[in-house]
């Protein structure tokens, strides 16, 4: 057991934990953050995506020890922001949500993209979200949602 200190959704937290425990499990089990989903456990599907120092990371591949001193944002924290409000509205208006299991990760990937590139092309969106799999949709609606979010959120990113 090791004491790990990091910033989680804007708050300083400390946890006494096995440092090899997956960040995903720590977030879900120790902090009750159910927005982080496990789809594959091997970094392929993106359902467990979180932001670590503003970079998108699959939390199933990250031992919590690596979180020491970092700034971690999950959908549970991001959903309180104005940027989320814009992304959320765009996803909803485009009908991009079906079963919803991939969506928290998809929203995190959208934030990660727009944070770096506030005005992405369709190809850039396809590229940026290619690490987040969805089996319900034809992806069209999700790409449209990101385009719409970028347009509506001008100045936010």
């Amino acid at each position: 057991m090791t004491e790990i200190e990091f910033v989680l959704n804007g708050k300083n937290v400390t946890i006494d934990v096995d440092p090899t425990k997956r960040l995903l499990d720590v977030l879900r089990e120790d902090f009750g953050l159910t927005g982080v989903k496990e789809g594959c456990g091997e970094g392929e599907c993106g359902a467990c995506s979180v932001l670590v120092n503003h970079e998108i990371v699959s939390s199933c591949l990250m031992p919590v020890g690596n979180a020491m001193g970092k700034d971690i944002v999950t959908i549970d924290g991001f959903s309180k922001t104005e940027r989320y409000r814009v992304i959320h509205g765009a996803y909803e208006d485009e009908g991009a949500v079906q079963c919803g299991f991939c969506i928290p990760g998809m929203v995190i990937a959208t934030e990660s993209l727009l944070n770096k590139n506030p005005d992405p092309t369709e190809d850039e969106i396809k590229d940026a979200l290619s690490g987040n799999l969805c089996r319900c949709t034809g992806y069209n609606m999700i790409v449209s949602a990101v385009l719409r979010a970028a347009e509506r959120g001008k100045g936010l990113w």
Binding site: G35, V36, K37, G39, G100, F101, C102, K126, C136, M141
Partner: protein
């Protein structure tokens, strides 16, 4: 004029799910649940001589270890289907035989994951490894018998012959097919193969159990069939159904993969024996190896036609591979005929038959399309082969021979799902429009058959027509209960199972349309075996049509009750009293719904208004579609790119156009995946190689260039507000449309899925060699 049907509205659960609110099964597990892990077979076929569980049981933190010796031998089927099931009862909770790599050997319940996994390693199993049957073409009457247990049985005749490795068999014919083939000017005969496909829903199979304060077993399950799950768990564990409650929370996708029982039996056994809550979340490897995939099939198909392009005879023999257990064996097989061959209803004769055999592979089960995608690929490819031979335009051939509005096919009466079917006439069939509009969307006139791009790449277009159904007539039942509350809003309780397709949303819209109230005034609660009325579940494209009709009936009843109570309150006759969604009025007298509700619950003539109704289809109106593909083939590498896919669908009224489009687009991408990318591959010893998302490739955003989906203007009067179902139809056309496009581009006929560069390149080289010789 419809107000809330054919109306855009975000899905009612989308907002909370997007924010990550706890909604799915594992989000709702008890904090201190025992973790259940399963020891899985490393062998494709073996007898368990002994299991020593003493070391595992002695490990600190282990609560319970279960092996086949801990269960009474009760054969069940895990298929979530109507009762009696058309699938053989050939599965035990745990057995002393393992029949595929990943089959269950033993289960461990421990305080945490690490302890459970460690305990699995401490189990000592002595196997007698047996020779497996891995090739489904060698399974029939093989000397190796996969199911030799005396207890297994069929519930009614399905052609079950386990001693011959046959899970089910079937044969039907209309007319004299041999005779009509002889009379035809042209006959084609082709063999096609379809592969196993994995569902890859994003949420793995997940279940948890607890004993509630009344001592009842409560399961939260990520399932498509909560009521069937309750029944099967009760059967398997000989536990009273009245003491089981199954709750289906939000589900992260199913596609047929959750039309079954998987972890439910073991988790229930653990919680019943320990009294403690327990849970099981399948690893992705378990989802691949130890749940179900799509039935691989071989089709030997003969088509006979006259010179003028009249199709006369269809003769099909099918061999289907159900893997280690026979879930959905017969019904998937029958749908490969019953929801495919009525497309060409003017033929003189049809013969359709064959076998579903056991092999030592991961079992096959329900998967969107349910046989129709396999049959459609074989038929619609064979039709293009025939057209090429006849030198007839494939679109004109279809327009001449395909089913049309007002027509029927004798197949509907002969073939149902596991039983006989129901005769029906196509009240709505806009195939003609779908084909014409699809041609425009893909620019068929300018692009057919091919265009040489001049850089070693050739583009081609191809098409296919398809159909599905809307529930299983006289079997699939849905029901709904609507309750008026004080303040004038409603609860809608339905057994219908929202697994992400948005059924809660569209069922609320249907109720809102009948009651003329805004959908926000209708609070939906679905799929809880204690609280909601019965529904068979989310399968067979039944929810919009069957459950939707039940909701409409219940809502119409509620409207009548409101009118009657309003008339009583206003002291006027019922006749001439009306309710517009806000106010009950008669001439110049009126009372608001809110005031009436408060009167009913607090002041006068007190009573609870509840309307309940149910619906079972008397027919299964098929949704139809035409699919058009444009591909680009690199003649140097054989690489194929899908440039564009246009789909035009007749599903009657779209209750929610956005959700319907989402169903079609999602289905198309799964069909495209099956055609171009996806394949469940096994090693020579029967170990699945493609058992992770890294090795099993589903399309990502990058592979999907352009999808165009449109709907035909169509109104099915037997459906709720004109709707037919739309869950499966989208998946059916891509295999044939894409492979027909490849043929039109480079002259290579793909006879086994998936398409690979190697198959195309080999085909191109063969035709070049042929050309050189000539």
């Amino acid at each position: 004029m419809m107000k809330y049907v054919n109306y855009e509205r975000p899905s009612i659960d989308g907002k909370g799910l997007m924010m990550g609110k706890p909604g799915y099964t594992d989000d709702l597990a008890e904090q201190n649940s025992l973790i259940v892990k399963v020891l899985r077979s490393p062998h494709a076929f073996a007898r368990i001589k002994s299991i020593d569980k003493s070391k595992a049981e002695a490990l600190e933190g282990v609560e319970l270890v279960l092996t086949h010796e801990d269960f009474k031998r009760i054969p069940v089927t895990r298929a979530g289907q109507g009762y009696p099931e058309p699938s053989p009862h050939d599965k035990f909770v745990l057995d002393n035989y393992v029949r595929h790599v990943g089959d269950e050997v033993a289960a461990v319940a421990a305080r945490d994951k690490e302890t459970a996994e460690k305990a699995l390693e401490l189990l000592v199993v002595d196997y007698e490894v047996l020779e497996p049957v891995l090739d489904f073409e060698k399974a029939y009457e093989n000397e190796v018998i996969i199911h030799d247990e005396p207890e297994i049985h069929e519930m009614f005749p399905i052609g079950f012959e386990p001693k011959k490795n046959v899970a089910a068999s079937y044969l039907m014919h209309i007319g004299d097919v041999e005779k009509s083939l002889k009379e035809c000017d042209t006959v084609t005969e082709t063999t096609f193969y379809t592969q196993a496909q994995a569902h890859v829903m994003m949420e793995p199979h997940t279940v948890n159990a607890r004993i509630d304060y009344q001592g009842r077993l409560v399961l939260y399950s990520s399932t498509q069939t909560p009521f069937h799950t309750r029944r099967i768990v009760a059967q398997a564990l000989e536990y009273p159904m009245s003491k089981i409650r199954v709750i289906k929370p939000r589900v992260g996708g199913g596609f047929g993969g959750k039309q079954c029982v998987h972890g439910e039996m073991l988790v229930s056994a653990v919680t019943l024996r320990t009294g403690k809550p327990s849970k099981m979340v399948y690893t992705r490897q378990e989802v691949f190896e130890s749940t179900f995939s799509r039935h691989p099939m071989r089709f030997d198909i003969k088509l006979g036609a006259m010179k003028d392009g009249t199709l006369k005879a269809i003769d099909v023999e099918v061999l289907s591979d159900t893997g280690a257990y026979g879930e959905h064996a017969l019904t998937v097989f029958m749908v490969a005929g019953s929801k495919v061959f009525p497309l060409y209803n003017k033929v003189d004769s049809v013969r359709f038959g064959g076998k579903v055999v056991y092999t030592n592979r991961t079992p096959a089960g329900a998967f969107r399309g349910y046989g129709a995608i396999q049959g459609n690929y074989a038929l619609e490819s064979a039709v293009d082969i025939l057209c090429d031979k006849l030198k007839v335009d494939p679109v004109e051939f279809r327009q001449k021979n395909m089913i049309r509005e007002g027509e029927t096919s004798p197949i509907f009466e002969i073939m149902g799902e596991g039983t006989e079917g129901i005769a029906m006439t196509m009240e709505t069939c806009k195939l003609d429009y779908c084909v014409k509009r699809g041609m425009e969307l893909i620019d068929w006139k300018n692009k057919y058959p091919r265009k040489d791009m001049g850089n070693g790449k050739v583009r081609g277009v191809g098409m296919a027509i398809a159909m599905q159904g809307s529930g299983i007539p006289y079997i699939d039942m849905g029901s709904a209960l609507i309750k008026l509350n004080d303040d004038g809003f409603f609860n809608l309780l339905v057994g219908a199972t929202d697994i992400g397709q948005g059924s809660d949303t569209i069922l609320a819209q249907i109720a809102a349309e009948s009651l003329r109230v805004h959908p926000d005034e209708i609070v939906v609660y679905s799929s809880d075996s204690d609280l909601t009325p019965f529904d068979v579940g989310a399968y067979a494209s039944s929810t919009t049509y069957v459950s939707g009709n039940a909701v409409k009936r219940a809502a119409d009843r509620m409207k009548q009750m409101i009118i009657e109570e309003g008339a009583l309150a206003l002291k006027v006759p019922v006749e001439g009293t009306d309710f517009d969604g806000m106010t009950i009025s008669h001439g110049d007298k009126s009372i608001s719904l809110k005031d009436l509700s408060n009167r009913l619950y607090y002041n006068e003539d007190q009573k609870q208004l509840v309307a309940v109704d149910s619906y079972v289809g008397t027919k299964s109106p098929p949704p139809f579609m035409a699919g058009f593909a444009e591909v680009e083939v690199d003649t140097e590498t054989g690489h194929v790119e899908l440039i564009d896919y246009a789909a035009v669908v007749d599903c009657g009224t779209t209750i929610s156009p956005n959700l319907a489009k989402g169903q079609v687009e999602g289905g198309l991408v799964q069909g495209i995946g099956m055609t171009l990318y996806e394949d469940v591959v096994y090693s020579k010893t029967g170990k699945m190689i493609t058992n992770s998302m890294m090795t099993y490739r589903i399309p990502t955003r990058k592979e999907i260039r352009s999808l165009k989906v449109e709907f035909a203007d169509s109104y099915e009067t037997s459906g709720p507000y004109g709707a037919k179902s739309v869950g499966e139809i989208g998946i059916d056309s891509p295999p044939a449309a894409i492979t027909n496009a490849i043929f039109n581009a480079v002259g290579v006929r793909i006879k086994s899925l998936p398409v690979t560069g190697e198959k195309i390149l080999t085909g191109i080289q063969k035709s070049r060699q042929k050309g050189e010789k000539q």
